[in-house]
Symmetry: C2
Subunit: 208 residues, 2 copies
DNA sequence: CAACTTCGCTACGCACGCGTAGCGTAGAGT
DNA sequence: ACTCTACGCTACGCGTGCGTAGCGAAGTTG
């Protein structure tokens, strides 16, 4: 393997600070623009005007408007952290409540619908959406599987199903109507789902 | 009240058949275009080319591209029917299974994400989205409330919460990853949610 | 300080979509 | 038959965004 042209002792590649500076400014401007005008509303010219970075300079770092949006979203969407608080319920309250909170206050909230829409047709956005989903789900699934190992959920519980039961209602409520979406609702969802697996009879396990 | 210029004995307003003919053609073309290119991809010129209707003719019936898209979506999104099969579970299996089926096969499925995205910014689309949601929810809520009256759900069950628990996972799975979304999954969701309210202890009802 | 890289700016030509005007034609209503 | 209305077509001018070329200025690296 060859070494990158300019590498620091620690191995981090040295980059011209001007590059990262403009990159940061362009990405934040793009993010703001995605939130206000939608993905299709992102124009290199609009980004240029909003960021104060010359149009030609933007074209030197990104090929396209879509490429720029993809880079922005990839930079913006960060997976949650496994809280690992000791009990399944506590972990889920943290994760699901955090999701609800993020969907209300985070600027990324207004972007998810656009990403889902774009993923519906554009393969590049579909790939990004899939990657983002897997990263985010990975954390939740780990929490759920840990709960199964601890006996907090029955052994035959399908982690993916539990995930959908937990996350679905939160996301759905966010993008439907004006009903409230807060920590209390998230807690009710968590407890209901846990109760669904807590009952004396798991669905389909009685009649055989 | 004055009578419309040309009214039939039954009260239905008589309209020039040419108007409805072009209206139908334009709306179907627009629907196809929304599905393939997204809401922002709908262009009067593209609709004209796809439908075979002259651009000027389209402008005679609709003001705008957004107005045309709104009319198309309003025409396309029809609320489900209350099945009223006798039991809550049967009704829910029908409704939730139907939703899952529609989200997989119906051309309207690829449109929902776009509508949600547009509703995020454009008030007109937000209003349409809200209206559509209320119509659709009305049916489900009626079914749930009937189940409560029959004692199939506890009296303190919040119908809206039940609705979100049922619908959320279906919609979420549709727009996330490539996992299967079929009648079997819908049935599992229904049974889990019913089990969540079937348990000996309703959440929060024990400690007071 | 010298070599190199990045940035800002101007100025393009091009394509696309908008929304309208004006006219002739064809179909609908009575 | 006669009137009225809707439709198709051509031809606009306008604005917006694309993506590139060429240059000088400013900043970075060694």
């Amino acid at each position: 393997m060859s070494v990158a042209p300019n590498a620091t002792p620690t191995g981090t590649t040295r980059v011209d600070p001007r590059l990262v500076r403009t990159r940061a400014r362009v990405l934040t401007a793009t993010a703001r623009l995605v939130a206000t005008a939608g993905i299709s509303g992102v124009t290199i010219e609009a980004v240029s005007e909003l960021s104060g970075i010359a149009k030609t300079t933007i074209y030197r770092q990104w090929d396209d408007a879509p490429a720029l949006v993809l880079a922005t979203l990839d930079d913006l969407l960060q997976p949650p952290v496994d809280p690992d608080l000791g009990t399944l319920r506590a972990d889920l309250l943290h994760l699901v409540g955090g999701l609800a909170h993020a969907l209300v206050v985070s600027p990324a909230a207004g972007i998810m619908a656009g990403l889902m829409d774009a993923a519906e047709r554009d393969p590049a956005f579909a790939a990004l959406h899939a990657r983002e989903g897997e990263r985010r789900h990975g954390v939740v699934l780990a929490v759920i599987e840990r709960g199964v190992r601890r006996g907090e959920l029955p052994a035959d519980a399908d982690p993916h199903e539990v995930l959908d039961l937990l996350t679905g209602p939160i996301v759905y409520r966010r993008y439907t109507g004006a009903r409230t979406l807060d920590a209390a609702f998230a807690a009710r969802v968590v407890d209901r789902v846990l109760a669904a697996y807590d009952g004396p009879t798991a669905p389909g396990s009685r009649d055989h």
